[in-house]
Each structure stands twice: as structure tokens, then as C-alpha cells.
């Protein structure tokens, strides 16, 4: 079959994009449009589902099928759709408030069911669409419209939550790190099971520069470590720093000071999430923050496969249902 060759522009809808100028969302949209043509999936087979928030306007800008649903619930719509239409490629677009506050419940359950979809979580650590209240990922002490004396909640890490739910694909990337973002989206799309990608995304209106340590190229090399499966965690401008596992904690070492064999080798495929959880807990400024694929475990059954396999198995065991037979099963009587 000759599929038409699609370009990024083919995935643009006719709607004007209405994010604030300079918003990190533009970069994610651009990378998505760039990645999709390479996946070999026709546009009509792709569905974007979002909740509510700035990021959730995303589906309107994609020339695919889409649903802009209600706050926090995008994974649940995806569950109904993917369970009944496993032939579709489903992307969920969500934000830190949408996925972790109002939608925290659905987020966990989608991950533990391992529905074969991709969740892209735009984390800007602030509520944008409601104009600047703190979010579940805002740092402690953050001054916002709703926290004039500083936020007192302890922030939630989406990666930790995902690992606790034993998600099969957990990754992080950064809006400004476009090459890395594209590669990560591609890896998420290739994974069978729920893929979670947290994307650090700058809200230049309400929380500008909150993640500059990871977004600006110069700072990034010192504050971010790029994970690669099977490789040591090396970072720093001169690749002079690395991560070592000491007892039950991780520490930063100088590569010059320790033998290469002592360095932690990243194992994304380890079904035991213990060390991956340690990576997820690495926080700036005490530690560099990991980006890339923290966890990728293949071979775990997906919810959509299993719900459909049960139907197939039931038909094989009992034959196609016959309603007339069902209605007349058990005790019946005739009235003449």
C-alpha cells in the first residue's frame, strides 16, 4: 500500500493558535507535528484528547481527530475510546493541574491499567488559564496570586507518582531542548502501554524562568543529566560529573575521582522501579535532574488488549451470543 508522505504542515488544523507569544507550548506543538509524519500512522487514525487548561487547547491545532474534554478527565475518555477502538493511536495532552490535581485519580488508574496510549504532561508549575494560582508542582514557598505568603503544599512529582503506579514508560523532557523532546515523543509513541512524558514547559506570563536551570542551554549542562539505557549518568560542561549509587542513595561524583565501574549504569528496563524512583527524586539544586526515559518495561499486558481478548475468548468458548436462546434459558412457561 502506498501511503501518502505527510509533512509537519499536514498536521496543522485551520485554527489560529492562541497561546501567549513565547509560551513553551509552541515548541511542543512543533515537535509533535514533526514527529507524527515519521510514525507511519494516517492522520485519521490519530486522536488527541485533552482536559482543561492552556495545554489542553492542543487538539484544536492538530488536523487529526480530537476531543477537548473536561478538567482532569482526559485519560478516562481515552480509556473508553482505546478499549473499543484499539486500532486508533491515542494521545492525551494534559498539564500539571489537570493531571495531578483534579485528575490525579484518573492519572494513577490509567497508568496502572497500562492502557496503550501516550500521555504528554506539560509541567509549568503554575495554573495558567485561571491566571496564576499555584499548582501541585509549584515549589514550596512560591509566591502566587493564591499564595501571597508562599505555597505551603509539598510539591508532587509526576514521575514519582507514575513509578509508584508501576507505569511501563516514564520519561521527562524539556520544551526548549527540541531535539531531545522530539526523540522522547518518538520513544513514547513506539512503546506499547501507557507512556508518560513530563515536559518542562515555561509559562512566560505567570511563572517565567521557573525552570530556567533546565531550559537554558548553559545552565542545562550543569543541572540536567540525560539518561540513556545502559550508559552511565554523566553530565557537566566537560562531562566531568556523574552519579553513583552509595548504599540506598545517589550522589554526584567527579568522573576523575572514581573508577568507571563504580558509576551508576542506567537500567530503564528493570521491572523493579526502586532505582528509577531514586532518579525521579533527584531535585535541583541539590542534584541534577534527569531527563530522558527513566523507565521502559515492555511485555506488560495492556488494558485495551485484555478487554478485547476476553470478548474474543468468550466468543470462542461459548459462540456468538444468541439472544433468543438467552431469553429462553432457565425456567419458562407457555400461556396458550
Amino acid at each position: 500500500m502506498n501511503l501518502p508522505v505527510l509533512k509537519a504542515a499536514d498536521f496543522a488544523s485551520d485554527q489560529d493558535v492562541r497561546w501567549c507569544p513565547g509560551c513553551g507550548d509552541y515548541s511542543i506543538l512543533a515537535q509533535m507535528k514533526k514527529v507524527l509524519p515519521d510514525l507511519g500512522v494516517p492522520r485519521e487514525k490519530i486522536v488527541f484528547i485533552s482536559g482543561i487548561g492552556c495545554s489542553s487547547r492542543f487538539p484544536y491545532y492538530m488536523n487529526t481527530y480530537g476531543m477537548h474534554s473536561i478538567h482532569g478527565r482526559a485519560p478516562t475518555f481515552a480509556t473508553g475510546l482505546k478499549s473499543t477502538r484499539p486500532d486508533l493511536m491515542v494521545w492525551v495532552i494534559t498539564g500539571d493541574g489537570d493531571a495531578l490535581s483534579i485528575g490525579g485519580n484518573h492519572f494513577i488508574h490509567c497508568l496502572r491499567r497500562n492502557l496503550d496510549i501516550n500521555i504528554i504532561l506539560f509541567n509549568n508549575r503554575i495554573y495558567g488559564l485561571t491566571k496564576g494560582q499555584y499548582s501541585p508542582t509549584s515549589v514550596e514557598g512560591q509566591i502566587t496570586k493564591s499564595t501571597p505568603m508562599g505555597a505551603i503544599d509539598h510539591p508532587l512529582s509526576p514521575l514519582s507518582v507514575a513509578l509508584a503506579a508501576e507505569a511501563t514508560f516514564v520519561a521527562r523532557s524539556i520544551d526548549a531542548h527540541v531535539k531531545h523532546l522530539g526523540d522522547t515523543l518518538q520513544a513514547a509513541a513506539a512503546h506499547k502501554g501507557t507512556s508518560l512524558v513530563e515536559v518542562y514547559q515555561n509559562c512566560n506570563v505567570f511563572n517565567d524562568g521557573a525552570m530556567a536551570y533546565a531550559q537554558e542551554k548553559k545552565q542545562r549542562v550543569e543541572n540536567v543529566v540525560e539518561l540513556e539505557h545502559g550508559k552511565p549518568l554523566i553530565f557537566g560542561e566537560n562531562s566531568d560529573k556523574a552519579i553513583r549509587l552509595m548504599g540506598n542513595h545517589l550522589e554526584v561524583v567527579n568522573t576523575a575521582d572514581v573508577p568507571a565501574d563504580d558509576l551508576l549504569i542506567h537500567d530503564a528496563h528493570d521491572p523493579n522501579p526502586a532505582i528509577q524512583m531514586m532518579l525521579a527524586r533527584m531535585r535541583y539544586p541539590e542534584m541534577p535532574e534527569p531527563i530522558g526515559v527513566l523507565r521502559q518495561v515492555e511485555g506488560v499486558a495492556t488494558y485495551n488488549d485484555q478487554i478485547n481478548e476476553q470478548v474474543t475468548a468468550a466468543k470462542a468458548a461459548r459462540g456468538e451470543g444468541d439472544l433468543d436462546k438467552l431469553f429462553r434459558s432457565g425456567d419458562t412457561w407457555d400461556v396458550a
Binding site: G66, R85, N308, A314, V335
Partner: protein, 624 residues
Amino acid sequence: MIETTAKKIQSVTGITVRLCGDSGDGMQLLGTQLTNTSALAGNDVATFPDFPAEIRAPRGTRAGVSGFQVQFASEEIFTPGDVLDALVVMNAAAFVTNIGDLRKGGILIVNEDGFNDKEFKLAKMESNPLDAEVLMQQYRVVKVNMTKMTRDAVAEHGLSTKIADRCKNFFAMGLVYWLFGRSLEPTLRFIDAKFGKKPDVAAANIAALRAGWAFGETTEEFGESYQVEAAQLVPGTYRNIMGNQALAWGLIAASKLSNKDLFYGTYPITPASDILHELTKYKNYGVRTFQAEDEIAAICATIGAAFGGTMGVTASSGPGIALKGEAMGLAVMLELPMIIINVQRGGPSTGLPTKTEQSDLLQVMFGRNGEAPMPVLAPRSPGDCFDMAVEAWRIATECMCPVMLLSDGYIANGSEPWKIPTVSEMPKIQCSHPEGRNGDEPFLPYARDENLARPWAIPGTPDLMHRVGGLEKEDGTGNVSYDPDNHQHMCETRAAKVARIADRIPEQDVFGDTKGDVLVVSWGGTYGSCHTAVDRCRKAGHSVSHAHIRYLNPLPRNIGDLLRSFRTVLVPELNSGQLRMLLRAEYLVDCIGINKIKGKPFTVTELVEEISHHATVLRQSKAG
């Protein structure tokens, strides 16, 4: 095997029996068996299971009493009966909570082993009520040491006392079967199917059942037994069916008639859960059930399935419907077909989970933000749940909109004989999906047909890519629109779409004359009591008619004329007047409510009293 009896047999037209005991005593099982056996004997039957919300409330307490009432008759009946001809009580608590409903002269069968100081204390009773002289004068009391006799009967099967005591409901069953001339055969078949893998338990239950029968046959306490002849029902093949089961089967039938697989997204809640338990058995019919993490996930998954072109259904009860409110609004906005079922229970809040009520009518009519009209259908009896489920899906697909199906705990758990339909003779439900565009014309996901329905274009279809969502849609294109005139137009269109359904549903039918003194207007599970009460009033010479509404939104097109054709309109409801409010608002016709909010259905007697009072006043005013 044919059971025979040497005693006299008295023929009666109908019997109302209530069986009650502790939650763990197996009363629901006993009631279900008596119902099925009576239905198989050709009687018309109507049932009313009544059990506590607690799974096992402290044994022996009043809170733990579980009851099952059944009326079986040789004529058509519509209710499980008001007053009891016979009452079986397994312990003191069951006695004290139920004796008030036994008619004077009725039969009281007592498990005397459930009447001792320990039981009296648990039931908070001062003394043994069986000692009261007045009891013997008012009722025909038969005391049986059921626990002891059951132990004796099953002794040879070597069961523990605990297991042996569990057989005592079968002893009671045997005795009741003898008393009312029921065959043991269906229950023997049931025991074989249910306990076949535990032969000792099966044998013990059979022994207990036969011992109960033999006791009736030999005891001098009973001089005679009773016989209820078969009822004259419409010819056909029948089975006994419960409301929730009929609803589940109706959904599967609708899915077959429309050639669509069924996706059922739900979260467990009383009294709706049995629909899930039933549906999940039928995966080979293309049924996919999803037990979601919460009520919201349940409906949202259903909407997701509907977006993909599947028949989506979700169900709950009032508290869950409250949680689904926002998503229902989205379903209205998306204009996708689906069914939302509310099996009502007593409210507000957690309310009375196992008791019936009709207090969610205004909730399902208006319980959403914004102008979000939705068709509302209400089955009137257990068997009618089947027909209304099919009807709900027909309307949903014709109009491309979510449809609310409003059942209640009374019909959900009640049962009646159901004339089995032949599926191939039922009209098909047409639903189709557009397959492509007209040349270069842009695809308009919100273009409309004569029913104002938009096309059900599903993902996977080339060239029809479009985005839906909860922001207001521009007419035609479906693009986000903040245009004021468009918003008004869309609100009016969504309302008109629902209103126009009135042109295609049947006119309201009337039992009795189409004009006169009193019109009784009812809806939902009160059908049986209202119909029977009106029938009695008419036979007593009153000018009374009955209109039972199954389509609550939109209402049938002739309702207004009908209301204006009577001098008085009475609206009996198990709420404080919700349909009455709608009728007054819509038609400016005054209506008088008969309202009961006790978690119990209407008795025929109380309705007859109210209706005949109004009818008498009107007749006298005419005469004067």
C-alpha cells in the same frame, strides 16, 4: 415426583406472603424461589425484596431484618400486595418489625427457635410476644421449631451445626410450598445447579425442603392448604424477570438491533450494580464492561466509547449521577448518542441506599450547568425496563444525544412474568457513520438532518478529521465560537432537538375515560399501585382515569389537553412533588400531589383512600 396431600385444598384468587428473617437467613433466596415456582405454575407474580444496606448488620437485631414479599394470583396483578395473607418470621426481630402488616386472621408462621431471651434482647423486646393471648386471637399462629427440626432432618449428612442451620430457610420453603400447593421440582433443580459440586450440602438442603413439606402435611396446626390457579395472561412464552436484569437484556438487544457492540462504563452503587453483574456475563455478545475508578471516569469512558462509534452506556444512582453532572453536560455539547441510567434510591446524600424513591426527577431534568436538556425515559415495571432500554437507544441514535433512563430501586429489584420477545421481530435501530466528504466541500461535523441530529463521524474515517469539545460550537463547522448569536442559536437548537422527539413518540394513553372528574398522573415504579388503585375506584363507581407517563422529557404531545379534560388532576409520587412541579410549570394546570417519602412504595389502600376522597368531593359538588 408429584407431591400429594390428604388435607383439604381451598382455592383462592391470590396470596400475599412475606418471608423475613436475619440478613444471613437466606430470605431473598427463599423469596426468589417461591416467586419462580409460582410464575412457573402460571400465576401472575409481583415481588418486593426489602433488605438492609448493611451486608450483615448485627445478627438478630431489628436493623438486620431482611424481607421478601411476593403476591401470586390467578388474575393480572400489578403490585406485590398491601396487606399480608401470610407472614413467615425466622426470629424475634423479624416478628416485631413486620407483624403490623399481617391482616387480621392471616397466617403467622414462626420459627420458635428464634424466640428466646437472647433473641429478645437483640431485638430490644421485653418479653416473648408469642405468649400474648391477643396474638392468638388475631392471627392463625403456627409455631415450629425450625432450627431443631432442620438439624434433625439433615443429621445424616454429617454437616457442622453452622452449615446445618443454614438449611433452615429450605425447611421454611418446604412448609410454605406445602401450604400454597407449590411444586418442589423447580427448587430441586435449583439446588442441583447451585450446590451440585457440594453433594452433601445439596442433599441436606433437599432433606430440609422435604422435611418442611412433610411437616405441613402431617401437623395438626394446618387443617387445609391453598391453591392459586394459573392466571390468564396474553398468550406467549413467559419467564420471570427482575428489573435490572431486564434492563441489561434490553441494552444487549438494542446493541444487536443496531449492530453495535456495547460498552458499559460504571462504578458499583446500590441499586444499580446488578446491571453490571448481569452484563459482564455476556462478553460473547460483544459486551465490554469497564469498572471505573469513580463515577466520573465511568461516564467519561462511556463518552470516549461513543466518540469512537460504539454503543456507550453508563449507570448509577442519585449520588453517582450528581458526580456525573459535568460530563453529562459535555455529552450534551458533543451531541453523541449514549444512555445514562439512574436507578433511584432514597436521598439526599447517601440517603437510603436500599430503599426506593422517585426524588431524582428534577436532578436528571436539570442537574447540569447551563442549558443542557436531555431526553428522560422512565420504565414502569421490571419487564418494561427491557422495552425502555431499547427505546432509549433508538432515541439516542435518532437524535445524536445522550438519553437518561430513570429507573428506581423498586422495579430494579422487583420481578414479574415477562413475555419473551423474538428478537428478529423487533424493529432494527438504524445508525450509520458518514464515510467521506462530498468532493472538496469541507466536512461539517455539526451539520444537521431533519431530526436536528449531527453526523456520527468516527475516528478512523479518512477526510472527516474534526475536533469536538466542551467549548461552545459554531453551528455547522463545530469550531470554537464565542459569538453571542451563535450561542443562543446553539442553545435553542439543542433544546429544539429534544423537544421534537415529542412528534415521534406515542401519544399518552389513558386507562379509563379521556375526560371526567379525576385524572391520576404517575410515572416510574408507582405504576402498579396507581393502576390497581384507579381500577378499584372505577369499579366503585368513581369517575377516575389513569395516565402513566413513560416519556418524561419531552412529555407526550397530548398531555396538556389531557390534563385540561379533568376537573382534578392527582399526581402520586414518592417525592415531594417533582412531576407535579413540571406539569404545573409546563401546562399551567393545577395538580394535587399525593406524596410519600418513606423509602417505601405506595400501598394500593392509601391511594384508593386519597383518590376516592377527591372523586367523592367532586361528585357531591356536582350533585349539590
